[in-house]
Symmetry: C2
Subunit: 468 residues, 2 copies
Amino acid sequence: MAKGASISGFPEWLPEQRAVEQKIIDTVKRVFELHGFIGIETCAVETGASLLKKGETSKEIYLLSRLQEVGHESDTPVSERLGLHFDLTVPLSRYVVEHSGQLTFPFKRWQIQKVWRGERPQSGRFREFYQADIDVVGNGDLPEHYEVELPFVMCEALEGLHRFGLPKATIHANNRKLSEGFYRAIGLADIEGVLREVDKLDKIGPDEVEKLLTEECGANEEQAEACLRLADIVTADPDKLCSRFDALCDSCSIDRASKGYALAQQGLDTICTIIRQSAQVRPGAIIADCKIARGLDYYTGSVYETFIDGVPELGSICSGGRYDNLVSKGSRKYPGVGLSIGLSRLLSYLLGTVGAEANRQSPASVLVAVWNEDARDASNSIASRLRSRGICADVAPQANKIGKQIKYASKLGIPYVWFPADPDAETGSDAAADSVKNIVTGEQSPADPVSWLPDTVYAQQAIVINKE
Amino acid sequence: MAKGASISGFPEWLPEQRAVEQKIIDTVKRVFELHGFIGIETCAVETGASLLKKGETSKEIYLLSRLQEVGHESDTPVSERLGLHFDLTVPLSRYVVEHSGQLTFPFKRWQIQKVWRGERPQSGRFREFYQADIDVVGNGDLPEHYEVELPFVMCEALEGLHRFGLPKATIHANNRKLSEGFYRAIGLADIEGVLREVDKLDKIGPDEVEKLLTEECGANEEQAEACLRLADIVTADPDKLCSRFDALCDSCSIDRASKGYALAQQGLDTICTIIRQSAQVRPGAIIADCKIARGLDYYTGSVYETFIDGVPELGSICSGGRYDNLVSKGSRKYPGVGLSIGLSRLLSYLLGTVGAEANRQSPASVLVAVWNEDARDASNSIASRLRSRGICADVAPQANKIGKQIKYASKLGIPYVWFPADPDAETGSDAAADSVKNIVTGEQSPADPVSWLPDTVYAQQAIVINKE
């Protein structure tokens, strides 16, 4: 957590940290646009009715009331009140249905915005944070190849963040059809229940999960064990995935002609395609992980979670999947595939643990010095000329002693100080012409505001890693 | 107002409109950074206590409550509850005080974020909108030259919006010291009251204001008339400003040795400097307008409002001023000068009246066609190669008939369709090599994904003006 966030759970960054956030957003956005995703922005609020559709997160919603309504908030039913969106999927659903006549389907959209969750304050939990989402939404149907391609886009986006110190990330893919088909094939009926318990594996371990499966989901010992063995399949190799699944089916004596098996096979095919293509382009970037169960209650096909290598405590930083039932308008369905990066958590890691920050607070490359207040106009003109050529320039706030002006530049990280020709200097002397000093290297040389350029390395604010 | 905003007062834009908003934000931000302003972002919420400091706008605040608190909201006093910020000045004040030890002063910051006001829904009033702010905040004191320079930065930012169809804007400047000093010099004491009534000039006209000045502010007929004559001074010419003010003082028999006159003269000097410098660089961009009174209750020096030439109904699109008393920490004061552009209102005008929109919905320049689903990999590789050279590329969603794929590109406004070498084509035939078709001009030619470039005019999404 950054220092000085005075309102618990609402992170705020210093200028040199905010610059990292901005560059991360720009990087991710650029990848999304290279892939033809269209940027939209939705409003911060939705009706309570929309927000409460997903029961699970209902407790985390922030509702709004106008100051005038204080004391009478409850006159309006929650479903009709406005609340802040807690993700970007609910707004997308509404947006797509509202504007379906004006959009082209499949609609590929990116969206990077803040979302809010009224969680109890606890370490590492934000109540306000950025999400960066991509989704493809079809009108009526949606080709399965998007389930293969979308995680690749996220791989590329996350790779773009390596230069800010983000270690390699691995996307773990599973498929609702594989899990559900397998559970049905071994004779289980409470699919949601089994998924809910399997999801607890990382937290409570296999013994406890096995117990819960028998106690809560009607599984016998063999069935519970089979569920755990499925969850145990984690591999980047499509052939191994198939052979291990096959062996598991054999040992459970699964009927290859059953509907459950056919469904599982569909899911398996999709995961295989994903990791096979991944192996060609980005070996190891995406692996099959049959234990992934979170969200499988509303995802209907592929499901993804992403972990940073060596930083499991950060949890999944990019999750998503295929959902066929989230958006509909009458009998018309809008199936989608989408993934969402939790940008703020990731940023918090880069700032706090990795030590990423901007190499300077100010975007300016040059501070134009001011000899005296009467000569401020001359300094302003020099700055104008530099700006007209795309060079960010600031002007000294006061005509202090030059040492003080240089110190101002230095504190802001501005690498160059420009000395306008001194109006009182002797003609022909050095001080009678403009000069510019690199206050990092100490080099000083004559310069003309219509042609001078900063050295490339000092031209732009850049992100550096300050490992402790 | 855009079509389809389903939640009253919370505007939402179609992709080709959102692209205009994004370009406006980018343009304005670029100007701010060229001038050395530092970007920050503050959280969306403040405590009720902070938000309620400015009594006037208190009715417009949105308070938050967690869903679990419904029915018990009033258990927490409003001052301790969280509310959404209604401007970017209150958050800046808090940010500066909180981080004063880590910031460099004068602190020049830009901030472009959404703000929220719980107003009663009415035409043209947004409850959620973007503001684009620049402020310079000093630690202890702040040189007056920023009062001259900041409106120039805004002039430049607004000029940058001409290419999106924004007509010329004129900044109207006044000064609290001029008004207050003059009122005191003619013997009035209820300065806030006089300012409040003068602010109503545009709405109710001079006769009504004169009446209110005598009835509510203890002015006699002569004093009220003098107030109106001061408000009547509007000029871009610094000499005329001085001579007209001088003549007014003469006719009111003002004592040149009085404190009131000295204060007025200070204010007059600042306005003169502003419009004199403006006349040199941007003739007519800034004019003196002694009727501007809004905000003078908390501004202490210069005050600015900005109107679009020929579009008075839009009201002021960029307002601000100098404030000496907004931010403090113990006995330490942080005086500031700032201006704020109401971006959403301006955008709404550009979209609705001017007809600005993106020339295409998709950022992609190229759609790579897909001959059949087995050949999708080949199309994906071509797209990857294009993207690696910075060309935004999409791939056809389905291996439909080529006419249908071209139609998909056309609906999204993607100018080029790429035809991969047809695997079934005769060797040596045209179809055996990649080619690309400009679907706007109909031109088609062989192309190689490692070297082909789109024509400049089709390379980027651009904003066009569709005058009706």
